[in-house]
């Protein structure tokens, strides 16, 4: 499809990788409506309501959406699945494909000045989900992986030396001292990145041709199931 045709396409984007999450509607690459979610209610309760509300606000019906975009993770397993199952159903009914965007990549594409970005999400178990990117499309340098913050910083030490560096994500607060110790005071630390759905919508526009069938859209868990981890430890 030509670029000019793509410019008229509607994209609905959903992020459920954090408690609050967010939704957005874009026409071509331009976000026309976006909203952050209410963290006091679960995604299970808020969906599909939040999506209906944002499409209404954008003045577009679900049946007019051309691409359904969703954050694939990492994040809370359950929340990712709730978001994905919702998007799968919408895409299936309307015979439209799904575009998945890594949450870490979306973090790395939030506005910032650094040439290199460390996406740094709280893994909720004294660990982090991390990936390292060069700013600009498709430049994943390392990760995604899950692990102890210090271990990851040590493992990626050479790549993290490149400056200017931004560290973005909700794991920043808990690891501020460690980041200062390992990376010095140079990097810009962004603990509260903006809602990701608008970023996901824009990335989906860039990747318009990479859509997959609804059933093929699956979470990027990064972490293995506990049962599998326990068995490996037992071996």
């Amino acid at each position: 499809m030509g670029y000019s045709a793509r410019r008229g396409m509607w994209i609905l984007a959903l992020d459920t990788s954090t408690r609050e999450g967010s939704v957005a509607v874009a026409r071509g690459g331009d976000v026309v409506a976006a909203a952050a979610g209410d963290p006091s209610r679960t995604h299970g309760e808020r969906l599909p309501g939040d999506l209906l509300a944002i499409t209404a606000k954008a003045g577009v019906s679900l049946s007019a959406i051309d691409r359904f975009a969703v954050s694939s993770g990492p994040g809370s397993f359950t929340s990712l699945r709730v978001g994905l199952a919702t998007i799968q159903a919408l895409a299936l009914v309307h015979s439209r494909p799904v575009i998945q965007v890594s949450t870490l990549e979306a973090l790395a594409r939030t506005p910032g000045a650094g040439d290199r970005v460390l996406a740094w999400m709280d893994g909720q178990r004294r660990d982090v989900f991390a990936a390292l990117y060069d700013r600009g499309p498709r430049a994943c340098i390392a990760g995604p992986r899950v692990g102890r913050p210090a271990e990851i910083l040590d493992a990626w030490k050479p790549q993290l030396a490149k400056r200017p560096l931004d560290v973005v994500g909700n794991a920043v607060t808990a690891t501020r001292a460690l980041l200062a110790e390992r990376l010095g005071t140079g990097p810009v630390l962004v603990d509260e990145p903006p809602p990701l759905a608008p970023v996901i919508a824009r990335l989906a526009f860039e990747r318009y041709g990479e859509a997959v069938a609804p059933h093929a859209a699956q979470p990027l868990y990064v972490r293995r199931p506990d049962a599998v981890l326990a068995r490996r430890r037992g071996l």
């Binding site: 199952a85 919702t86 009914v93 699956q218």
Partner: protein, 381 residues
């Protein structure tokens, strides 16, 4: 009216299309019934691993729903409502089905009908056997439940289910699965024990029956009036307990292993004898309580549903007892005994006709009791 039903409460991803038949005697027509079982995935773990189950539901659900439509020869425009299992079950599994069903209902602008999983198991009896003479006593016996219900009419076409007995510890299906595992048999244990027990002597070992009335002198509160105590005793006669039986099997197996000096599996004929003897106790316990309840409540029919109702011995013995009691017996076909969405669709249609729909903020519930009759178990003192 055609309802699309989705069931993901445990380790089966299921979807079905069910329609009103127009015949009150056999109200539901199953137009399609698709189940993707995860048994192969969980077998190596000896039981359902919740996170693996949830991951598999997201992989299978699109294909299962599309297949259910295709098998029914239907497309989206033929669907008039969406039913979904709201609970009880594994919350991560339930959430996949609920999120999916809600998004379907929202995009198609259709009513959403939440269904309690056990109400689905009870409805499977009507799907198969037609309208039950009411009141009915129904035993729902599965991997997670061993519940006795008194099912009565509520309104013109509605049903009301009052919980009149349940297990205090393990569910019967759980006992099957645990006993199978300690005999070194495959998961799920129910079908395996069912098969092996056919070749065994059911008096090979004398396993104990749990007595819920006489052994229980201290169970009641100290201050109850005599009438209350009698009532409480009578209530306990309809309770089940299978953990003592499981322990007895375990001890027996340990003793035999020590005697034979083997750490692996016991000889085949011993395993068969143990399976048959264990099953005799389970089946008799289930049927004793069920037919006692039927007598006590003046039931006009008896039903048995849930995964364990697939058991051959249970089905044969239940048929014999029902014949003796002069009561019609309702059993699901094997396809509808274990988890499926056809039963959820049928129960969903019944609820929809009674005016029950859910808003789009419907949430899955891991624990969701079924007892919609006043004076039921939950509200009993």
């Amino acid at each position: 009216m055609d309802i699309l039903a989705i069931e993901t409460s445990c380790d089966e991803t299921a979807a079905a299309v069910v329609a009103d038949s127009g015949d009150p005697a056999r109200p539901w027509t199953v137009r399609s019934n698709v189940v993707a079982s995860q048994a192969e995935i969980h077998r190596e773990w000896g039981g359902v691993v919740p996170e693996l189950a949830s991951r598999q539901h997201v992989r299978d659900i699109c294909g299962v729903v599309e297949r259910a439509l295709e098998d029914a020869g239907a497309d989206w425009t033929d669907v008039d409502a969406v039913a979904v299992t709201q609970g009880p079950g594994l919350v991560g599994s339930l959430l996949v089905g609920v999120a999916f069903a809600k998004a379907l209902a929202a995009s198609l602008d259709l009513p959403l009908v939440p269904v309690q999983h056990l109400a689905g198991h009870i409805e499977s009896l009507v799907v198969e056997g037609g309208r039950m003479p009411l009141p009915a006593v129904v035993l729902v016996v599965s991997g997670g439940h061993t519940n006795l219900y008194l099912t009565t009419a509520a309104g013109a076409e509605g049903l009301s289910h009052r919980l009149i007995g349940r297990t205090r510890d393990d569910a019967a299906g759980e006992a099957y699965d645990k006993v199978a595992s300690l005999l070194g048999l495959d998961y799920p244990g129910g079908p395996v024990i069912d098969r092996i027990a056919r070749t065994g002597d059911d008096h090979f070992v004398d396993f104990p029956f749990a007595r819920m009335t006489h052994d229980d002198r201290n169970a009641g509160p100290a201050m109850v009036r005599p009438a209350g105590l009698a009532e409480a005793r009578r209530g306990r006669q309809l309770e089940f307990s299978f953990s003592g039986l499981k322990t007895a099997v375990k001890r027996h197996v340990q003793r035999r292993r020590a005697a034979l000096g083997c750490d692996g599996r016991l000889p085949e004929e011993e395993i068969a004898g143990i399976c048959a003897s264990f099953q005799r106790v389970v089946v008799r316990t289930l049927l004793d309580r069920t037919f006692l309840a039927a007598r006590r409540f003046g039931a006009l029919s008896v039903g048995i549903s849930g995964g364990v109702s697939a058991n051959a011995r249970l089905r044969a013995d239940a048929a014999a007892r029902a014949e003796r009691a002069g009561l019609p017996l309702f059993l699901p076909s094997l396809a509808l005994a274990t988890d499926n969405a056809a039963m959820i669709g049928a129960a969903g249609l019944r609820r929809l006709h009674a005016g029950v729909t859910a808003p789009l903020d419907l949430n899955a519930k891991a624990s969701l009791p079924l007892d919609d009759a006043p004076g039921g178990w939950q509200s009993a003192p």
